[in-house]
Amino acid sequence: MKTATLIRELWKSAPGKLGLTLLGLLSLVSVYVILTYPSDYGTSRWGNPALWADNPKSVPPAWTGFLSSVKPTRHRIEEWEKPSEVVSLDFGHERIYRMVFALKGDEHPTFISFSLWNVEYHLRPPVITAVLSRPDGGRITLFRQAVSGPRTGEEAPYSRYRDEPLREVLGSDQRVKDQLTRFFSEKYIKDIDLDVVHSAPVMALFGVPGFDGGFPVLKGEYTLEVRILVNDERDKAGKVRMVQGGSVYGVMGTDALGRDLAEGLLFGLPVALLIGIATSTISTLLGMILGMVSGYAGGKTDLVIQRAADIVANIPVLPLLIFLVFIGGSKLWLILMVLVAFSWPGLTIMVRSMVLQLRTGQEVEAAKTLGASGARVIFSHIFPHTASYILAQLVFFAPSAILAEAGLSFLGLGDPSIPTWGQVLEYGFRTGAVFLGYWWWVVPPGLLIVITAVTFMFLALGLEPVVDPRLRGRRWWRY
């Protein structure tokens, strides 16, 4: 049957239509991912924590703000190549980078940080300071440190933070906590909860002492300044980046490393499709060929294949799968191979019994009487009868392969160079996302697994009447 006819017939049934639509959608997204993502995505991006350092950690998606009464705080990143202001002093000058931001939400920023690239100096090491000005007039110095001095044998100009930036998450310093304590006791004559200041200084930094001892958000305009004090005109500083960590991020939120879940989950789609389609295709082919050979050849060949099928069919797959992947190493191809190795017997046993029945049936007898060759008998008179089952198996097996890989990944046996949904879930589970209620981390990957698997299920259901011309026109599924 031609592919076009197949699809047209499939389209006529409700599950077939649904399956095709979903498959089309999933394929489209997969193509987008394949075209836009780097080929070594797993190692170069997903597995590289430095890339995600400036993202807020374990925060829900941005759109959750619309649903809840608590207004989340936006995530803010700003970068400068040039300072906002240069102040001349008698012993040099100070370059000031300024980020002005307003807090309007009800939630505290999750963190505050800055990064600095490419500092070059000639005589004395520059001094770097970070200061936060609060809307209530408070000015708190968050960071103050000189760039490391010349090493022995090093010659001017001295270059620092070239390969790796100076990255500082601000506010956790003991001096900051002291300043905060002092500031609060002067400004707000009230009992303040020093525990909060010590355990969560960011809350205090952006809050005012509340009545219940907490620190509700102080709304208004803040300024974060990064100052670089240099004493030589020739001294340079490269890029400066300041981050105010929001309490929400992106379409799908982030994980504990600050990774954008939307990006990772999107990458999982082509991988899942590959797992499903590759495994089911290979195992179906294998199962079909073995079944045909077994049924048609008979004798010793048949006996050997049948015994083997009997044994493999009786092996509990998951424990063995775990064992083999554990021993062989977490490689995707190995997982696929092992899945194939365990999945052929069902089809083999079924195809064999069908072949046995067909082989002595009148249609095959007739073909033999006509002088048909073995190949013709198999291809024209046996294969078409088994095709519907084979096709169904092909589609049916894809979801179970996807589920098996997800299960393995969940046990920590996934291929780390190729992030899958199972692995996202595993990391979430291992870091306690479930018990902390980070639903955006654990629900979407599972849902994606289900959607992908269901797509194949619908196709399998839709295929039933398609592959058998006798069932056409008789449809069990209306809507």
Binding site: G361, Q362, E363, E365, A366, A367, K368, T369, L370, G371, A372, S373, R376, S380, H381, P384, H385, P469, R470
Partner: protein, 322 residues
């Protein structure tokens, strides 16, 4: 004249695995010698399990023979392989019982009937189509053009059976085995198909083996009859003679069992053969029919197996009474 097909002491056994070590022989055909002459129709009559179908398949080289030979036009075909077998296949064809399972439901009529031509390398498409059209016309599947692209499930039982006849006839065979060709066709259509077969046979002087359980149809559509019971032939003869004067007790019982539409039937019991035929894996000693026979002679019938004796030319019977 001369015989087209002949068998000598043909035996076909199947083996049933009873346990890991023991197996049991099912003697489906157990020493059959018969011959069919050119242009003749031999009706092979028997009940289910008598081995008549297996015998038909053996003549077509579809089953492995245990013993004996099959001669086709005087040549031993039992050992044929490859090309030789294929050329035999071209001249020997079969029509099967079940019009629903003997043709592929996945092929249309065009493909079904042209398959033999493709197998036997009729290369030119024009020639193929000419033969195809002729075959379909011969079996009255008219108009041919309308039928060609239909699938079997769009046709009635009678039409399907005609498709399978067309498929068998398209190569113009010399010998055809028709295994219960009408038993699954509606009564009102049966005669039509049998006439069709007979006309084709007369026209092309095809040699026919008509396998059936229906003695009445054998009477009208065969020249000679061979009655089979548990793998052996118990009686043969010219059709009219066998029907009018059956000799073997089994043939007699069988003929008496056949109902004919007569309102008087209901007033009397039908004479019958008692019991049921034993399984071919457990053939009784001596004459296989003796446990059911009304003329059973003790210590003869249960000990010695009667051979097929020729009573007169064209009349043989395997019974101790003769």
């Amino acid at each position: 004249m001369g015989e087209v097909i002949e068998t000598r002491e043909l035996k076909v056994y199947f083996f049933l695995r009873r346990s890991l070590f023991r197996q049991r022989a099912v003697k489906a055909v157990d020493g059959v010698s018969l011959r069919i002459e050119r242009g003749e129709t031999l009706a092979l009559v028997g009940e289910s399990g008598s081995g008549k179908t297996t015998l038909g398949r053996a003549l077509l080289r579809l089953v492995e023979l245990r013993d004996g030979v099959v001669l086709f036009r005087g040549r031993d075909i039992t050992g044929l392989k490859g090309k030789g077998l294929k050329s035999f296949r071209r001249s020997a064809q079969a029509i099967f019982q079940d019009p629903y399972s003997s043709i592929s439901p996945y092929m249309n009529i065009y493909d079904i009937v042209s398959e033999p031509l493709l197998i036997h390398r009729v290369k030119e498409k024009e020639k193929r189509e000419k033969m195809l059209f002729r075959a379909l016309e011969q079996v009255n599947l008219l108009p041919v053009r309308e039928i060609l692209y239909k699938y079997p499930h769009n046709l009635s039982g009678g039409q399907r059976q005609r498709v399978s006849i067309a498929r068998a006839m398209v190569l113009e065979p010399e010998f055809v085995v028709a295994d219960e060709p009408v038993s699954m066709v509606d009564a009102s259509n049966r005669a039509e198909i049998l006439y069709l077969l007979r006309n084709l046979q007369k026209e092309k002087s095809i040699t026919f083996l008509y396998i059936t359980h229906d003695l009445a149809s054998a009477r009208h559509f065969s020249d000679r009859i061979a009655v089979m019971y548990l793998g052996t032939i118990v009686e043969t003869g010219i059709t009219g003679r066998v029907i009018e004067e059956p000799l073997h007790p089994y043939t007699r019982g069988l003929l008496a069992s056949v109902p004919e539409p007569d309102p008087l039937n209901r007033k009397k019991l039908r004479p019958l053969i008692p019991g049921e035929p034993p399984s071919a894996s457990d053939v009784p000693s001596g004459c296989p029919f003796h446990p059911r026979c009304s003329d059973f002679i003790e210590r003869l019938c249960d000990k010695a197996r009667p051979s097929l004796k020729e009573l007169s030319p064209e009349r043989s019977v395997a019974c101790h009474l003769f």
